[in-house]
Symmetry: C2
Subunit: 86 residues, 2 copies
């Protein structure tokens, strides 16, 4: 199954916007410094990613399900840490 | 043009994950407190959103272009503030 340019760019985009949350989780977990992180942002973002996951499930599209499942887990950790360490 | 359930969930998801960055920009702009924000996260995330924007341009899909154009602008502000106020 050859990938065209748009597919390749889309997969690279999905990988970057998903793995981006790993360093934030590591930093927040290690330092417990969440002072500059917006609680409202993580509340809205986590809800939005949960909807993206639902969208993937409704369409049965695995790349959307996997990318948003991972992002949902990571963003939820930041949200919970922010709620504990305001 | 009636929207089906998946379309509706997808649009709601796009709106939430885009507007989520407004409160982060406002907080970072007002307080200049970026201490808990990961520079690596915003570097990777901004690059990823730029690729999502390119993906939308390649496909000619306006909802993807608009949502990621707005998110790119907002994430770039946080990235620049983080680089200035580490």
């Amino acid at each position: 199954m050859p990938l065209n340019l748009a597919d390749t760019v889309g997969y690279a985009a999905a990988v970057l916007t998903t793995v981006a949350f790993f360093p934030q989780v590591l930093k927040s977990w290690r330092t417990r410094d969440l002072s500059g992180v917006s609680l409202t942002m993580y509340g809205l973002f986590t809800a939005g990613v949960a909807l993206w996951l639902s969208y993937g499930v409704l369409l049965g599209t695995w790349p959307i399900i996997i990318a948003n499942g991972v992002t949902l887990a990571l963003a939820s950790v930041v949200l919970i840490l922010k709620m504990k360490h305001r």
